[in-house]
């Protein structure tokens, strides 16, 4: 079979397996695995966001936890105000919190996009290791800000007592919440796939390969990268909002650089620039966490070995190992 088709077939297989796992889990009366599968899906969305910047654009952002956390806090803050019947603000006009997921997602996406716009305006003027360090620095600034902000729990984080609402769906049923997240994952992958093939995607991939070539034909690499960075952050921010709802809890650890590293690990394990790479990466991560995490608290060691093997021997990640190298038309 053609290699190109092989990746497509593999993607369908990955999506279907991920989709049926929760149903099997319910059938076997193991609801815990539904939550686990949902975690995979939410982490995968965060990875899909980063993969746009990292995989297609070559932007090694070490600060994507900022967007994941901002999305999470957007959900946490809006929901906690709504649940406590405290308006967000009363001066000028009264603005209330909400427990409607659709609104929360909108706020999470816009807030993380704005943060990315500001961070990107500064960081995208640099490249290489400086870019990594500046995104890391911005991420840590937001992390310490969250820790020292007592209004929303500071270091202790913020609890959401009831899962937020989605019109016409009982979100308390874990399967339903899984399906909401799964749908968003598929939509975000579809978005990346469309972007990749568009004029914008062509310019973005050219910017990764050769900055000089792109500007010599008259396209500003900076504008292309900034747009990419913002869209990438929006997707990761959405994942953050879902993560808050999954755990019914938001904590500053969502913003820490460990989280940035983990999101990057999802992408690299699965395959940088591969549409379903982050899904495979997140699944492997959760798998290792649940298998070895029960045996030793040093389970990351095992994951580290796999990561090492991927980086040394399989640059295309696990998807690359199975589906072969990418082809560019």
């Amino acid at each position: 079979m053609d290699k190109f088709d092989r990746e497509k077939a593999l993607n369908v297989l990955i999506a279907l397996s991920l989709l049926i796992i929760p149903f099997i889990a319910i059938e076997m009366d193991e609801p815990f695995y539904v939550t686990l599968a949902t975690r995979v899906v939410v982490f995968a969305i965060a990875g899909v966001g980063l993969n746009l910047a990292l995989g297609l654009g070559g932007l090694i952002s070490f600060g994507h936890a900022a967007f994941f956390g901002i999305g999470g806090y957007a959900a946490g803050i809006l929901a906690s105000h709504a649940l406590n019947y405290e308006p967000l603000m009363t001066s000028l006009f009264e603005l209330n919190g909400t427990t409607e997921m659709l609104i929360i997602w909108g706020v999470a996406v816009v807030a993380s996009g704005l943060a990315a716009l500001i961070i990107g305006l500064f960081s995208l003027r640099t490249s290489g290791v400086y870019f990594i360090m500046i995104t890391l620095a911005f991420g840590q600034m937001i992390y310490y800000f969250a820790i020292s902000w007592p209004a929303y729990g500071g270091e202790d984080g913020l609890s959401i007592y009831v899962r937020n609402k989605f019109p016409g769906v009982n979100t308390l049923d874990p399967i339903n919440f899984f399906l909401i997240c799964f749908t968003l994952l598929m939509l975000s992958i579809l978005l990346i796939s469309v972007l990749k093939n568009s004029r914008f995607g062509a310019a973005l991939q050219a910017a990764r390969q050769n900055d000089e070539r792109l500007s010599t034909v008259g396209i500003h690499p900076f504008k292309i990268r900034l747009t990419t960075f913002v869209v990438s952050a929006m997707i990761t921010g959405l994942a953050g909002a879902l993560y808050a709802d999954l755990n019914r809890f938001v904590s500053p650890s969502m913003l820490s650089w460990h989280t940035s590293g983990e999101i990057m690990v999802f992408v690299i394990l699965g395959g940088v620039g591969r549409l379903f790479g982050p899904v495979v990466g997140a699944a492997l991560f959760i798998l290792f966490e649940s298998i070895f995490g029960g045996l030793t608290e040093h389970w990351m060691l095992f994951l580290g070995l796999v990561l090492l093997a991927v980086v040394l021997f399989a640059r295309g990640g696990l998807i690359g190992v199975i589906a072969g190298k990418t082809r560019h038309g």
Binding site: N197, R199, F200, A206, N210, L214, S215, V217, I219, G329
Partner: protein, 254 residues
């Protein structure tokens, strides 16, 4: 040639650029008129690359001005100048190596034919982009290699591809940095014929080491030595110029 009352397309006036104590560009004035090929020659280290970079927008001059189509280029970057109509090729090919030859040219067609901020329509289903790019590849005789990644093209083919990309920009000026480099005698001959026709599309500022090509093509030649233009004139004037003979052409010209 008869310039009559034509305005120069590109006018470089009293340009200075230093790196520390090294004067890489020392009071350089060069202009380029419609329909002409103006060759820029000079020994290695004469400051040709530095000059090209200031014209393309990679480097800002310390002093002096560059006017392109009557517009001062100060403060404009590489992409801005390319949009205004500066079609540049590189001394060492600069391509998107993972992309096929076709996609490299399509990028230029896309830049020329509107915004790159279009997010939905797939480029590989965009007939106008593909056909526009194929036409340029055909012009440089690379149509058979359209689907080969740039990384797998031969050196000569990459040079041809660079020219196809520049063509696709439909520029007002071609800025060609040693297009003959490493082409071999057969390739150089073909490219010389090609550039001879190209001048009718847009004037060419040609930096070149291949003297046969320069003498065959150039309407005017400027000779750059130690950052200074020591002579500008027709092929014959430059051949006869004693300064040029000692400083640069040396034993080459009999």
């Amino acid at each position: 040639m008869d310039k009559g009352n034509m305005e120069p397309v590109l006018k470089i006036s009293n340009l200075f650029k230093s790196f520390g104590a090294l004067k890489a560009t020392d009071d350089v004035s060069i202009d380029l008129y419609p329909g002409e090929i103006h060759a820029l020659i000079g020994p290695n280290g004469a400051g040709k690359s530095t000059l090209i970079k200031q014209i393309s927008g990679d480097l800002e001059p310390d002093l002096g001005s560059i006017h392109f189509l009557g517009k001062n280029m100060a403060g404009l970057g590489v992409a801005d100048r390319a949009q205004l109509g500066l079609g540049r090729t590189f001394q060492v090919s600069s391509l998107a190596l993972e992309f096929s030859a076709l996609r490299n040219v399509m990028l230029a067609v896309q830049a020329k034919s509107g915004s790159s901020f279009r997010f939905f329509k797939p480029v590989m289903k965009d007939k106008a982009l593909i056909e526009g790019a194929m036409e340029m590849l055909t012009q440089v005789d690379l149509q058979e290699r359209a689907n080969i990644p740039a990384a797998e093209l031969s050196h000569g083919e990459r040079r041809q591809l660079e020219i196809a990309i520049a063509l696709a920009l439909k520029p007002k000026v071609f800025l060609l940095d040693e297009p003959m480099a490493g082409m071999g005698p057969e390739g150089s001959k073909k490219l010389t014929e090609f550039l001879d026709k190209l001048r009718h599309q847009a004037p060419i500022l040609l930096v070149e080491h291949d003297m046969d090509a320069v003498f065959a093509l150039a309407d005017r030649i400027s000779v750059l030595v130690y950052g200074q233009v020591i002579a500008t004139g027709s092929v014959d004037e430059i051949r006869r110029n004693p300064l040029v003979r000692t400083a640069y052409l040396g034993e080459e010209v009999v």
